[in-house]
């Protein structure tokens, strides 16, 4: 069991997401930064399917009643037990010892995984929290004093000290053009892939708003269509929105490009006021940049 002693601004239970329910209008939820989340599970000796805690607004602190391996990931995070340890490292938490998760002004989403995983029942196939519809086994932000059961830990002390190299956060995300790129006026797509946007403070788990450069929007109305995380909608005002884990399952704004899954965290972790650029890649080989032919 863990007992939350300091809950941050908003901490929720997340697992890899609630797939298979989009046709009921239910968003996937899951982590805003899937790469950091998966790393936290791996470092804590959890399975891919286990649940961990996503925290916005550090510090976040807790105590375990037994010995656990703890892993904290995210952008610019660190963890303190008796001594401070860098993030992205497996840490041994002793019974009763307070574990404090700290960040900096650049930190947005931090992940806290514990060996054994958070033991809550699945709701509609997932332990992920979707706050707008109060969905999930714990459909509210965590508060100080909350006690959460943990699964049986299979990770031993020998994993403590293991590290995963964090991605280089900051400023760039790879994206595939479209699916509605052909509906935009000439020049909109090249504007999008050459612009330096600024991240708006009005950004959350549903999406990140970009300001600073306007992208000429599509003129024709579009019939509402299905959506995946990473879709970059351009509303009539020309300020793009990159949709994240809590995105609506359908939407009516034309989508100029779609951020690849590996880089959703680059968008989610961009701090308000920071710059963000998009690098055009091909969908069949998204890790390689596309050579622009003009």
């Amino acid at each position: 069991m863990i007992r939350i002693t300091s809950c941050g601004l908003r901490a929720t239970i997340q697992d890899r997401g609630r797939t298979g329910h989009a046709r009921e209008g239910i968003p996937p939820s899951g982590p805003a930064d899937p790469v950091a989340f998966a790393a936290s599970l791996a470092l804590a000796g959890c399975g891919d399917d286990d649940a961990a805690i996503e925290v916005i607004g550090l510090p976040f602190a807790f105590r375990c009643d037994d010995r656990r391996i703890v892993a904290v990931t995210g952008r610019d995070v660190r963890v303190r037990t008796r001594v401070p340890v860098a993030g992205w490292t497996s840490v041994l938490a002793r019974p009763g010892e307070e574990v404090v998760v700290e960040g900096s002004a650049l930190t947005r989403f931090a992940y806290v995984a514990l060996s054994g995983g958070i033991a809550l029942p699945r709701v509609l196939g997932s332990r992920a929290t979707y706050l707008p519809a109060s969905l999930g086994p714990l459909p509210r932000p965590l508060i100080a004093g909350d006690e959460l059961a943990l699964g049986a830990s299979i990770a031993g002390v020998e994993v403590a000290g293991r590290r995963i190299v964090p991605p280089a956060y900051g400023g760039r995300a790879r994206a595939v053009a479209g699916p509605h790129d052909a509906r935009f006026p000439d020049g909109s797509v090249s504007t999008f892939f050459s612009a330096t946007f600024t991240v708006s403070p009005e950004s959350d788990r549903m999406g990140v708003r970009l300001v600073g450069v306007a992208v000429a929007p599509a003129v024709d109305e579009l019939l509402t269509c299905g959506i995946v995380a990473g879709a970059v909608q351009v509303p009539h005002g020309g300020a793009p929105i990159v949709l994240l884990a809590d995105h609506q399952t359908t939407g009516g704004y034309p989508i100029i490009a779609t951020v690849i899954r590996a880089d959703l965290g680059q968008v989610a972790q961009a701090a308000p006021g920071e710059e963000l650029r998009f690098e055009r890649v091909t969908p069949e080989d998204p890790r390689r940049s596309r050579v622009e032919r003009t």
Binding site: I26, A133, H180, T258, E284
Partner: protein, 208 residues
């Protein structure tokens, strides 16, 4: 039908750009066929389907070939699963009922009669959990959305706008015109499926 890449793990299959029950059924049939292949989930809407796959299990080029094959030989609207009839007991006392009737040159009684005397098709679900877009409205009671959305619309509100009618599944912001309310729970996470209405169902609003 056209197939376009949608990021690195999905495709958008577009049928046409108009709202028509037969196109909606055809889109749903395409989504069903994709999900039967077991590559990933599919999200149908008015005239398009998003089909997803997991690059850890399926190569992009194989998923692309499967999407192209489906688009070139679609299963057709007739193979869409037939819906059920769902009755929605409705108290017609919404805050926008009188104004919406007046702008259509109708009494509230006439508006209620025109809303409740036909069966609607559930086109697809989206926007929020359990929200089914249903249509079409009698053109005589059609009206645009409100100029400024309400910050909070209670779950169970029955609303109309843009030729369609919906039941709000959860408390949420909303810009549709509220003409009534139902006690029926159209979204209940304790149930699986959590959404009462499925695409393809018919809806009948029964005045209470």
């Amino acid at each position: 039908m056209t197939v376009r890449p949608f990021g690195d793990r999905a495709f958008l299959i577009e049928l046409e750009q108009r709202i028509d029950p037969s196109i909606i059924d055809a889109a749903r049939a395409v989504a069903d066929a994709w999900e039967r292949r077991g590559l990933g989930e599919a999200i149908p809407a008015y005239a398009s389907v998003v089909v997803t796959f997991d690059p850890a299990r399926t190569l992009w080029k194989d998923a692309a070939a499967a999407a192209e094959a489906l688009a070139s030989a679609p299963p057709g609207a007739a193979s869409a699963v037939a819906g059920r009839l769902i009755e929605i007991p409705t108290v017609y006392d919404g805050p926008d009922l009188a104004e919406t009737a007046t702008r259509s040159g109708l009494s509230t009684t006439e508006l209620v009669a025109l809303h409740s005397d036909r069966d609607y098709r559930a086109f697809f679900l989206g926007f929020m959990p359990g929200l089914a877009y249903c249509g079409m409205l009698d053109p005589r009671i059609d009206a645009p959305r409100l100029a400024s959305p309400r910050p909070r619309v209670p779950a169970g509100s029955v609303a109309i706008a843009n030729g369609q009618t919906i039941v709000y599944p959860v408390d949420s912001p909303g810009g549709w015109r509220l003409i009534g309310r139902t006690d029926l729970k159209v979204f209940d996470p304790a149930q699986d499926p959590a959404a009462l209405i499925r695409a393809g169902d018919r809806l009948r609003f029964v005045p209470r």
